[in-house]
Amino acid sequence: MLQYIRTRLLLTIPVLLGVSLVTFSILHLIPGDPARILLGDMGGGSAAGDISDEAYENLREELGLNDPYPVQYGNYLKNALTGDFGRSFQTNRDVRDSIFEVLPYTLQLTITGLGFAILFGGILGIIAALNRNTWIDSLTMIFSLFGLAMPSFWLGFILIQFFALRWTIFPSTGTEGWRTLVLPALTLGLVASGTVARLVRSTMLEVLNQEYVTVARSKGLRERAVILRHALRNALIPVVTIVGLQFGGLLSGAVIIETVFARRGLGRLAADAVLSRDFPMVQGTILFAAFGYVLINLLVDLSYAWLDPRIKYR
């Protein structure tokens, strides 16, 4: 088991190298000169009084943009290996500090969102499966379709309209305290719950037709025990896989949610960095996200062994 984990962790190194190379290449392939953007009229139409070409060239030099690409990439890798991800072009702040500062908020948001998704999706899925082909089934599936189809920013505005403006139950913006978390996490969770609900329904239906469920029933177990202890646990494996993968989706969903609800987070950091061609910040955020994603996948794989004792890792 330990050996398995070690191998998987070692495998993340080539993955991260690949991610960094692809990110670097894309950043330099798409048009946009970070120095010109810094000096430009993007930040509010009022930058330089009259910047000389010399100042512009100095800026490029200071940002290291005059070096050949392989040298730039080599420098980046060398520093990254020592834990130095450079300083943001835009803010001149240490990239690693910036990321660590906002990371907890994105994790908070995505994990809570995931919790909501599992809760709503799970309940809906089970209800639908138990009432197969009835109007209840149709209704819950229509609801989950809504979840799948709803753009998260739209749902976010709806929730703000009701819960923050009409009845001021929760604040519409902010990051501090659990109350600021409710609306954004709900938005994220509701959108993701559609997928979970449909999946839970189909796997539950499959499992409910298995012989061991019939055996459990024939032993005279209460229906509750049959559903929760025998059927649900076995229906969970594919659900866990999808939920793990959804975590990546939620992470990108968080970008939109973070903007709508003015929350701090990794997604916003990354998106702003892409727009301003803040190379070190883009690289840093994407590497962290990639690492997180790889880690989640590993955890998902490990959870199979816990859910299904027949699965063993060596």
């Binding site: 993007m42 139409g45 702003d272």
Partner: protein, 584 residues
């Protein structure tokens, strides 16, 4: 269902959908990468950010004003006796990248710098006169090479150290250090040579060439003195631990969320434009960064914000009629939003074609449509509140499709098949490059008029970074630019030939020695009246050459709850927070 309509309106008309879509695209790349290098999941996000919006474009650029709305600058008398104390929550549409005035190039930061730092001189926007700031008095040598300043006594930085001539020298010298990566202040120093410390309270700033705009530049927050002790202490992180002499003291900054300032109890040196002496009225100023316009508006309605600075256009009229709120609309001087035309690329290298383009567009109608009949259409290279504005440009190119057609006929472009004009078998084709958001909207409307006039228009609405690259390469016939400024010297930035390459703020792309000469002379002229005449000529010249299509003049849309008092405005549209107070 009224709220639903409003939300749909918000989604369609504000930049909500675009920004969100764009952010999605940005992360699409991220998750796309993850999908590529991870475990091959079913991530089906769209492709990377090849197109999209100018998300960091200023929010005021997307907001309109009420029809009869004029800047409402309340006087202290009418509002009763100011009350000390209270915490004000300010919802700001954008977050400053860095709070070091020597470094930052973002207007949103400049407006906040005045809280923490004091300029040497202030400028009265009504009269254009300069008023004492940290300098009591100043003198300019006849040759325009030396500015000497008498400094106020007893001024202290927030860290307790003394403000003196040495601090000025330190601040300006450090701006020149390439390692600092100054984005704006370095330009505002002009042909700076050195600062000479005559004594503790007298400083002389020397220039290599005569430099007329310097007092104006000093009134901008970017040349405000910083605490040398604090800079040495924090080094590159000074921008996150700013220490100045201003009416508020920096307390904390939570990236992406908020910044908090508290009153500087020792502040006695204000002066200048401020309406009161002594420390600020507010105990505390909390600046929340809320970039999404719809959300920002919501925070004003439900009380999460006391003041916001980007009211969505469609909400302005409603707030004006509501006693719980107030709307204030300060104009922004400098260059308006304009569309520079490429004067070296066919067909816009022909003066007649450029003139025809301006006359073919009913700009009044476009601006009325976009801004709910509120924002003013621009007329020339300077917006009307700018000092030295030349009203003569207003009558030069009235909307006249027939005159436009005649000009194009004269230039040899005759109407061909499919309502596209032709010359020597060539179609009358223009490439129009702009950013998304309000500029994209304007693009679509302008395009409609040009199509009518017989142009074939390739309208490319892209994110800012992509447009900048194309415009530098001169791919455009029509581009866009907007620069706020309190001095007409902004015309040098936008029309001098040295700014075609490098910064590429001159997107007319044409090297014009005559225009260069006029701009250089006006920059060096120390006599204010003469200088005014020179800039009037420059505006006339630029419009004679039809180098730009003027779009609209910028206005900042401030909304506040009724109990917020004493708001009046900085030259570039920010609030003087020192004078603001909360009615209990």
């Amino acid at each position: 269902m009224e709220f639903l309509e409003r939300i749909q309106l918000g989604v369609m008309e504000s930049r909500v959908s675009r920004r969100t879509v764009l952010l999605g695209a940005g992360v699409g790349m991220l998750s796309g990468l993850l999908a590529a290098c991870g475990s091959g999941d079913d991530d089906d996000d769209d492709d990377g950010p090849t197109t999209g919006g100018d998300a960091t474009e200023p929010a005021e650029a997307t907001s309109g004003t009420g029809a009869d709305a004029s800047p409402e600058v309340p006087s202290g008398d009418a509002e009763g006796e100011p009350v000390q104390g209270g915490t004000l929550k300010f919802g700001n549409y954008d977050e400053p990248p860095i709070m070091d005035p020597r470094v930052s190039g973002a207007t949103t930061a400049w407006r906040l710098f005045y809280c923490l730092f004091d300029p040497l001189v202030f400028q009265d926007i009504e009269t254009g006169d300069f008023l004492p700031g940290l300098a009591n008095a100043w003198e300019i040598s006849d040759d325009g090479l030396v500015y000497s300043f008498d400094l106020k006594e007893g001024v202290k930085f927030h860290d307790g150290t003394d403000f003196n001539a040495e601090a000025i020298k330190f601040t300006y010298d450090s701006i020149l250090d390439p390692e600092l990566k100054s984005l704006a202040a370095i330009g505002y120093l002009g042909p700076y040579k050195e600062t000479v410390v005559v004594d503790d309270l007298t400083a002389e700033v020397h220039f290599n060439d005569p430099y007329a705009p310097f007092l104006n530049n000093l009134s901008h927050s970017v040349l405000s003195p910083v605490s040398p002790t604090a800079v040495e202490l924090h080094g590159a992180d000074f921008g996150f631990n700013p220490v100045g002499t201003g009416p508020f003291i920096f307390q904390e900054w939570q990236q992406q969320t908020m910044m908090r300032f508290t009153r500087n109890p020792d502040y006695q040196w204000g002066g200048g434009v401020y309406t009161h002496e002594g420390p600020a009225h507010l105990d505390e100023l909390i600046v929340n960064f809320i970039t999404e316009p719809t959300t920002l508006m919501g925070t004003l309605r439900n009380g999460e914000s006391d003041v916001i600075n980007a009211v969505p256009a469609q909400e302005v009229a409603g707030l004006q009629d509501d006693d719980d709120f107030q709307i204030m609309l300060p104009d922004v001087p400098g260059s308006p939003q304009v569309l520079p035309m490429n004067a070296v690329k066919p067909p816009t290298d022909d003066l007649k074609v450029r003139q025809a383009i301006i006359q073919a567009i009913d700009m009044e109608t476009i601006i009325d449509t976009m801004w709910y009949g509120t924002r003013r259409a621009a007329q020339g290279p300077l917006s009307s509140p700018t000092w030295s504005y030349n009203p003569a440009v207003e009558t030069m190119y009235p909307y006249d499709p027939e005159a436009a057609g005649a000009l194009l006929d004269e230039a040899g472009w005759t109407m061909g098949s499919g309502n596209v004009r032709q010359k020597d078998g060539q179609k009358l084709h223009v490439t129009y490059i702009t950013t998304a958001g309000s500029n994209g909207q304007a693009g679509e409307l302008v395009q409609a008029y040009l199509l009518q006039a017989g142009f074939e228009v390739d309208l490319q609405i892209l994110e800012y970074a992509a447009t900048a690259t194309l415009m530098l390469a001169g791919e455009h016939n029509i581009a866009r630019i907007y620069f706020s400024h309190t001095d007409p010297v902004v015309t040098t930035t936008l029309y001098h030939s040295r700014n075609i390459q490098g910064t590429n703020f001159n997107r007319t792309m044409k090297e014009d020695p005559e225009l260069d000469r006029m701009l250089e002379e006006a920059t060096a002229e120390m006599d204010r009246e003469k200088r005014k005449t020179m800039y009037e000529d420059i505006q006339q010249y630029i419009m004679d050459q039809a180098l730009i299509i003027p779009l609209w003049e910028e206005t900042v849309l401030w909304g506040a709850r009724a109990n917020v008092k004493g708001m009046h405005f900085q030259p570039l549209g920010g609030t003087w927070w020192h004078d603001v107070w909360l009615e209990q």
